[in-house]
């Protein structure tokens, strides 16, 4: 085990790690998550995108229109400024990229393991945070709202689709999220590959 952890990574895998680091850079420019809303009176659909540092509508005015719909049921207005996580998320991503470069310069397997742990922990924390955020938006309603349906909450799904009144809400990772999952897969594959070389007799 120790032999594996201290093993110097093969040249090809080293380049793969660098690739993962570079791939992470693209997450600054791609949405991580996408929530779409379908309702009869929105034949063209409504949606919002969660980026590393902001929340936007799928098209220019979607967020404003989602907020307009939400105000009937007393949901808080969704604006980037109300999500403090978005302030430090870019640094977390920066840390992961930094890790990839360190691993490239100092190519040892244990650094990859650390990287995987980082991504998994951050991923779990991130998903929990996202769920908590959705929970608050869906449950923490203004009691003075024009439409109050007793017992009704409007928490969007974490992953997958859900019906809420006449709206179908679907929540799925977008390109940035897919890249993060993909990177995790690549890192696990690299470890598997390195392990194979340690234990398989030459």
């Amino acid at each position: 085990m120790q032999e594996l952890l201290l093993k110097k990574i093969s040249k090809m895998n080293r380049l793969l790690i660098l690739g993962v680091g570079l791939l992470f850079v693209s997450v600054y420019f791609l949405p991580i998550w996408h929530i779409s809303l379908a309702a009869p009176q929105y034949p063209e659909g409504l949606g919002m995108k969660i980026w590393i540092d902001k929340i936007t509508g799928s098209s220019t005015y979607d967020l404003q229109n989602i907020n307009l719909l939400n105000h009937y049921i007393g949901m808080h207005e969704i604006v980037s400024e109300s999500v403090p996580e978005l302030l430090f998320m870019p640094y977390v991503l920066g840390f992961l990229i930094f890790g990839a470069f360190v691993t490239f310069i100092h190519p040892r397997v244990y650094l990859i393991v650390l990287g995987i742990l980082n991504i998994v922990i951050l991923g779990i924390l991130g998903m929990y945070d996202f769920w908590r955020w959705e929970y608050n938006y869906g449950h923490n309603l203004n009691p003075e709202a024009p439409i109050v349906v007793p017992g009704m909450a409007y928490q969007p799904p974490l992953l997958g689709c859900k019906e809420m009144l006449n709206i179908t809400a679907c929540s799925f990772p977008s390109w940035g999220g897919i890249i993060l999952f993909l990177s995790l897969g690549i890192l696990i594959w690299v470890i598997w590959d390195e392990r194979r070389r340690v234990y398989v007799p030459k």
Binding site: E44, T60, Y61, Q64, N65, L68, Y72, P146, I147
Partner: protein
Amino acid sequence: MVLISLGYGCKGGAATAALASDAAKRVYVAPGEKDEVYAFLSGGFSGQMSVYGIPSTRLFKIIPVFSVFPENGYGYDEETKNMLRTTHGYVPWDDSHHIEASMTDGKQDGRWLFLNANNTPRLARIDLRSFETKEIIEIPNSAGNHASPFATENTEYLMAATRFSVPIPQASVPIENFSKGDFKGTVTMVKVDPKSGRLSLELQILVPGFDYDLSHCGKGKSHDWCFFTSYNSEQAYKMIEVGASKNDKDYILAFNWVRAKQCLDQGKASNFGGEYYRNYLPENQPAISEKLSGVKMLQPKDCPGVMYYMPTPKSPHGTDVDPTGEYIVGGGKLATVIPVHSFSKLMDVKDKPEHRSGMIMDIPILKYESTLAGEVKKPCLGPLHTEFDGKGYAYTSCFVSSEVVKWELGTWEVEQHLPAYYSVGHLSIVGGSSKDPYGKYLIALNKITKDRYLPVGMELPQSAQLYDISGGKAELLSDFPTVGEPHYSQMIPAKLLMDKAAKIYPLEENKHPYAIKNEKDARVVREGNTVRVYMTQIRSHFKPDTIEVRSGDTVFFHVTNLEQDFDIPHGFAVGGAPEMPNLLIMPGQTRTFKWKAPKPGIYPFYCTDFCSALHQEMQQYIRVLP
């Protein structure tokens, strides 16, 4: 001929029934599906324009142009009331006849439509993104702007000629002087800015005092020319129906507008009087109304080669140029033939003295046979106007015998008689006046309905008919009632317009001087006896929502709709406001409602357009203090 056409009329009902089930399928547009073509019909005496889907013939919209419009307050509110300003004062509606579509290289480009006002001579530009009237320019030195607005191949200019000749400049002279040459007509070249579409008067040409009826401009080889029909070359001024029908031939005026522009540039036109308004509605701002004066006037004698008269039988109405630009088809209302002039022949003979039969006001009159390409013999009674299918066939409307005749260009043979119910005026083929007709559909714009619909009192619905002309034989598909008199139409393939139709006014681009873009800026500002309410609307409330003013104050409600969602306009109305109808305010738009605060009391105001689940709650109060 009368018997033949009556025969057709009688058989019409039976023929329609046999066709019905098949035709119904061909005009059926299933729920949620879209029509293939936009039809824009002028409203005749309603001064409006209406938008239909073809083949379903469903009415989509009425665009107010030269008319006030209760539905949205056009012509009443502070933003649009100046659009209807003229040198004759505020004209609440007019008589609108001809729609022209903007073209690039002779093909429809889907940017603008143009419409004339006949009674108070004006031209309007309608934007095809917002489907709204954006500009109206008055034509001075004109009486009855009928032969208008016909565009040159690249929409360089719109032509406008007078229907009623009058003394120019205006003067109170004995009416008998009409026949002594004291009355004149004008041809006006209205320049269209190629980027913005803005209209300006470039030049007028003083022409003999006939009645100028219709016009069409050339294409391809005849690019430089426009053709105007004229009647009453007799210059009769009493019992005109008889007096003006005497001559065997009246004229088509061939006008070389490129030459006219050359003469203008060479300084051959002189300064002339004439006052006119130009009213322009910038995007989301109040209309800018300018009173301008003076035009450049050209006399044909100072610009040889600018105009020629082509004799054309008996009071011609239509003068229609085929897609190749070679044939100019005349529609002699009282003629027994459809005469077709050849542009090549015109070019050949125009300056050869042996082909001339005289001069009027230094405009050479050519001999009828010299420019004639051919005649369609005994086509129908009262041929008026011709459109082309781009496949070598022409369709001419015949008012008196109530039919459309299909005939072939070149052979001049009639191919088919299509009955029309009844008394067809203009007709329209999709792209049929352009270089590149899309063919397929033809509508006949009829004048009389009689037994076609359930009777609704003495004024019956105005009516049009849809034909399929895609096959060898044209077929009647349906009848449909229309708004106002369907005078003329342009039909445009849907694919050219539907994707670029505007959905909202982007709030960040709203440059209205009284716009506010945030509820936080909503406020009431008093300036002496004037009160300005900076108001916002969003589903489902106003801000400010309760207001106090004093009796006798002039209150301006500057209302901005903050929505940025397609199809979410809000309305605005104040209880009992006597001078204003309700306003309809588009997403991102600012409009102003002027109100004289009446006697003390409480006055409600509310949203008139059902906007949301809480629309009925979109209401508030103004308190008027003593």
